[in-house]
């Protein structure tokens, strides 16, 4: 007697286009938010290069300053600022979803988490600006 061979059914999966994120604005917004991570890496890299130039002496640091003043760098940093603001705003707005704080068993209203985040953002920015501009 022939033993029937068992063929497991192949899972049905619809194909998703590579450009699915161009279909609608919320999808595109999601991808733009995710792409903000490039700006994060970009400006950390600029800061590392700046520290390197600072380390190598005044002549190198002056050259670095020249480079920062080039139109390409200004444009790149303007784009980076846009994406970083987008990152910060979406990050703080999502914070209540990631932090499920409960008091007496009840979820704290979202604004109680979002507002302190924005206050911390403002305070941190003012502090950094104060330290760099006080001279």
């Amino acid at each position: 007697m022939a033993i029937p061979t068992y063929y497991p059914p192949r899972a049905y999966r619809t194909r998703v286009s590579t450009y699915w994120w161009l279909r609608s604005w919320p999808y595109l917004r999601f991808i733009l938010r995710e792409l903000s991570s490039i700006s994060v890496a970009w400006f950390v890299l600029v800061t590392l290069l700046q520290l390197g130039a600072l380390h190598r002496g005044p002549a190198e640091y002056a050259r670095f300053g020249e480079w920062l003043r080039s139109p390409l760098m200004i444009a790149g940093n303007a784009v980076a600022l846009f994406f970083l603001l987008f990152h910060a705003i979406t990050w703080f707005n999502l914070a209540p979803k990631a932090m499920a704080v409960r008091i007496r068993g009840k979820r704290v209203p979202p604004l109680f988490i979002t507002v302190p985040n924005y206050i911390a953002w403002l305070a941190a920015s003012l502090f950094v600006a104060f330290v760099l501009l006080r001279g």
């Binding site: 998703v16 590579t18 994120w21 991808i31 995710e34 792409l35 903000s36 991570s37 490039i38 700006s39 994060v40 890496a41 400006f43 950390v44 890299l45 600029v46 800061t47 590392l48 700046q50 520290l51 390197g52 600072l54 380390h55 005044p58 640091y61 002056a62 300053g65 920062l68 003043r69 760098m73 200004i74 940093n77 303007a78 980076a80 600022l81 970083l84 603001l85 990152h87 910060a88 990050w91 703080f92 990631a98 911390a120 953002w121 941190a124 920015s125 950094v128 600006a129 330290v131 760099l132 501009l133 001279g135």
Partner: protein, 116 residues
């Protein structure tokens, strides 16, 4: 039971790095990337900035600033490539590129904040 995943640890780095990036990066880009080069504001000169960078608290600050956001980038960019371009089959290459880059950056940050 399946293999233990290190995803929670990487997600924690992503989360902490993302918070630091959100709190601090915009003001840094605005000042060092636009306001100082364009002359909108007067930034600190070479000596002043070097003195500031050598302060112990600033060293710690810069070390955090230049490391954790890199792991935020690594995690998020990895998933952007997964979801956006659906190139899951290049998994290992992407992981090496993203986390490897973050680790190299971290090594530079440790060296620079230590030796400056």
């Amino acid at each position: 039971m399946g293999k233990r995943s290190n995803e929670p640890f990487l997600w924690m780095l992503f989360s902490v790095g993302g918070t630091i990036a959100a709190l601090l990066l915009p003001v840094h880009v605005f000042l060092f990337g636009l306001a100082f080069p364009l002359g909108w504001l007067d930034g600190p000169g070479y000596e002043a900035l070097l003195a500031l960078a050598r302060h112990p608290l600033t060293r710690v600050y810069l070390l955090v600033f230049c490391t954790l956001p890199l792991f935020h980038y690594a995690h998020r960019f990895r998933y952007t490539l997964y979801d956006g371009l659906q190139i899951k089959h290049l998994n290992e290459l992407i992981n090496t590129f993203c986390y490897g880059g973050a680790i190299v950056g971290t090594a530079f940050a440790v060296y620079l904040t230590w030796s400056i």
